[in-house]
């Protein structure tokens, strides 16, 4: 990846999404969070932007535009409001699991239901040392109705169909997606498969990259808002941002964010090429993105001072979202375990060689 320009069609998509995010998502973010959903008007525009379809294959009814297009779209929308994205984007985090599902007919049927907005699909990343593949869903969006759940554990994959509605479950963030949770014990198992080596990491990596892309948007909006506030507000005779201690922290935050974005996009391009190590790099990119987002959003609250703690600003919302994005798709420990499995094998991205 030595050409960093986005293809024209992705750049157009980004520009459209950016307009929509700033004009329609930002002003209503609090109202959407309170109502536990996004409005029909927002969902109409997202449908026109092709949020659900963009990275799905053509034979599922998708646009086949690739993961790079998807991460750019997610980041841009999240820079306005990330709250409803886990619900509105279906199959969203579970897209990789759906793509890896050996029962192609079943996968196509589920994708069609998700694309039509009639049902949603969850992905549970389970501890590889867990005794069985029937853990609980701690949190999933409550709309559209949750109907299926993939459970990924190592290279094992299982698919369940829920037979009853789960309990409402509020979470740290993403209020506009609502929330449900509960045990999968009573669900009907539609299949259980052992995937080819590394497919498990790839499908989990794709879910993590989804979170990483959203984290970038959250982080960028947090950074931009912090710069706006701290370059206007004067303390001790000069803007908050012009005190060198603060300026240096903001410089580091911007650099981490820029680096994470490059890593997320490179990993997306690797997924689009179906590179063998794409899951590894997607997982690495997620860690970089959520680390940046957690740091930037924390700085956003900190530099706003007491204002940052109030719901009058979106800083505290981004602070919560960033942390939650670092916990989804199995969280950090599972990601570290996946990386540790592969770190001795994945070749250097430039030389493609191991130790000389």
């Amino acid at each position: 990846m030595t050409d960093f320009a986005l293809p024209v069609e992705i750049e157009q998509l980004r520009a459209e999404a950016e307009r929509f995010a700033s004009l329609e998502l930002v002003p209503h973010a609090r109202a959407h969070e309170k109502s536990l959903c996004w409005s029909a008007a927002v969902l109409d525009v997202l449908a026109k932007l092709g949020l659900r379809e963009v990275d799905l294959p053509g034979d599922w009814g998708g646009a086949d535009a690739g993961v790079l297009a998807k991460v750019v779209l997610l980041e841009t929308l999240a820079s306005g409001d990330a709250g409803g994205l886990p619900a509105a984007d279906q199959p969203g985090l579970a897209t990789g699991a759906l793509a890896a599902c050996p029962d192609a007919g079943l996968a196509r049927r589920i994708a069609a239901e998700c694309l039509a907005g009639r049902a949603s699909l969850a992905l549970v990343c389970a501890d590889p040392e867990a005794p069985e593949l029937t853990p609980a869903i701690h949190w999933a969006p409550s709309w559209p109705q949750l109907r299926w759940a993939f459970v990924s554990r190592g290279d094992a994959l299982a698919l369940f169909e829920l037979t009853r509605a789960l309990e409402p479950a509020r979470a740290l963030a993403f209020g506009a997606s609502g929330g449900v949770g509960g045990a999968l014990a009573g669900a009907s198992k539609l299949g259980e498969w052992t995937l080819a080596r590394h497919q498990g990491v790839t499908l989990r990596g794709r879910a993590r990259l989804w979170c990483g892309a959203v984290a970038l948007g959250v982080a960028q909006s947090a950074f931009d808002a912090t710069v706006r506030y701290t370059t206007e507000r004067v303390v001790f005779g000069k803007p908050v941002a012009h005190h060198q201690g603060n300026a240096f922290e903001l410089a580091v935050a911007a650099t981490s964010l820029h680096g994470a974005r490059l890593l997320v996009r490179a990993a997306a391009a690797a997924l689009d090429r179906a590179a063998a190590d794409a899951g590894f790099w997607a997982t690495e990119a997620w860690i970089a993105a959520v680390e940046a987002a957690v740091a930037v959003s924390d700085l956003g609250v900190q530099l706003l001072g007491g204002h940052g703690f109030l719901v009058d600003h979106l800083a505290e919302k981004r602070f919560r979202e960033a942390r939650m994005l670092a916990l989804l798709a199995g969280g950090r420990d599972l990601a570290e375990a996946d990386l540790a499995e592969l770190v001795l094998e994945v070749p250097d991205s430039l030389t493609q060689g191991g130790p000389p």
Binding site: F4, L350, P355
Partner: protein, 396 residues
């Protein structure tokens, strides 16, 4: 994840082979003796041969957008910097070619000057170097404070002052020397001159002795009434209207900072490979120490890959003639601490085995520190970034 054209990939393979055969052993030898390899070392001639590394980085026989036959290829220079520093950063900095002076020529020189000063590098009979001298005993990070004076003297210029930290300066065909026509003018007073080898008054004071990165010359000079013809003023006098000279210096840094950072990525990769090798040999079966080591290694890989992408992105902007001050500084801010952590982590993984002088890791630990100082310290990079993003005033 990184896609390269076949020519660039071929060049990288060549650097790798040169590194394995020559650069690593030469670097270890220089580290032992404290002296850089001599200028007539056969390795340098090999690099300078027709179609060799120097002509590839220069893009010999490949025309640039402005028609110049010889130019300087930033992406190739970047990748060469990373790969050669993998083997030995000191020797990497000693590679023949125009060096940092090449970046200055690219930023400031007229097409005629570029052709003239790069022409000697098309002579493959011996190795040749270019160099750049900005830092002075009293002006390091704050380059606006340089005191070396440039005074018009008839049709020539006369230079007086002192320079230090000039890489390969003692063996260079020419050195791009930054001077000021009036220190009171600050950045507006800056001019860049090409001072050619043997010019009277341009005297080598000493080759510095360093903690690490000993494979290249770090020269200090005195300039005592050095007469330079007007045609050696890079870009000509018209280039230096309102801060143009300082902008030229900054544009030069915008090219060289990513190169510097990329050298760090190469060093970090070397440490990573040592650590990977150590884990494979010493912890073949699962266990707590192996797991802790693998988690450290995955963090190193993530950070090094991010640093590499930051470097590539900064150079990609430069190749498109787009502003890259912010991105060049971000690459330079990010990479050195990451590389330092990578080497420290590799040392921790190797434990006491890593500190012995006959192991490469302890040398890397000594070599790496200068990365965070040269081409602008991380504190300077933060200032540059803050100026770009926050409107931080210069006096802050």
């Amino acid at each position: 994840m990184i896609e390269l054209d076949p020519r660039t990939r071929e060049q990288l393979a060549e650097v790798r082979e040169l590194g394995r055969t020559y650069m690593r052993p030469m670097g270890l030898e220089s580290d032992r003796t404290g002296d850089p390899p001599p200028a007539d070392h056969p390795f340098y001639l090999l690099c300078s041969r027709q179609g060799g590394l120097v002509s590839r980085v220069l893009g010999e026989n490949e025309r640039d957008e402005d028609g110049a036959a010889l130019t300087w290829k930033p992406l190739r220079a970047l990748l060469t910097a990373e790969e050669s520093a993998y083997w030995d950063r000191g020797v990497a900095l000693s590679l023949p070619g125009p060096g940092l002076g090449g970046a200055a020529l690219r930023s400031l020189a007229t097409p005629e000057q570029r052709a003239r000063f790069l022409a000697p590098f098309a002579d493959h009979s011996r190795a040749r170097w270019g160099a750049m001298a900005m830092t002075e005993p009293g002006a390091g990070s704050d380059v606006a404070r340089i005191q070396t004076r440039a005074r018009r003297d008839g049709s020539d210029w006369r230079l007086d002052g002192a320079k230090m930290f000039c890489s390969n300066g003692a063996r260079a065909e020419w050195v791009v020397v930054w001077a000021t026509v009036d220190p009171a003018l600050g950045r507006e007073g800056h001019r860049a001159f090409v001072v050619e080898r043997g010019t009277a008054g341009f005297e080598l004071l000493k080759i510095e002795h360093k903690m690490g990165s000993r494979g290249y010359e770090t020269a200090s000079f005195a300039l005592d009434g050095v007469r330079v013809p007007a045609e050696n003023l890079l870009g000509g006098e018209s280039k230096y209207r309102t801060r143009e000279g300082f902008r030229g210096a900054m544009a030069t840094f915008n090219l060289t900072r990513p190169l510097h950072a990329a050298q760090g990525v190469g060093m970090g990769r070397a440490a990573l490979d040592h650590a990977l090798d150590f884990v494979r040999r010493e912890y073949p079966s699962q266990g707590r120490r192996r797991q802790r080591a693998l988690e450290k290694l995955s963090a190193i890989r993530r950070e090094l890959e991010t640093a590499r992408l930051l470097c590539l992105h900064a150079v990609w902007l430069a190749r498109r003639n787009q502003p890259n001050t912010l991105e060049a500084s971000q690459a330079k801010l990010f990479a050195p601490p990451v590389v330092f952590r990578a080497i420290a982590a590799a040392l921790e993984i190797a434990g006491e085995a890593g500190v012995r002088n006959d192991r490469h890791l302890e040398k890397l630990y000594r070599d790496v520190k200068i990365l965070d100082i040269g081409e602008g310290t991380q504190q300077v990079q933060r200032l540059v970034i803050a100026r770009q993003l926050l409107g931080l005033p210069r006096e802050a």
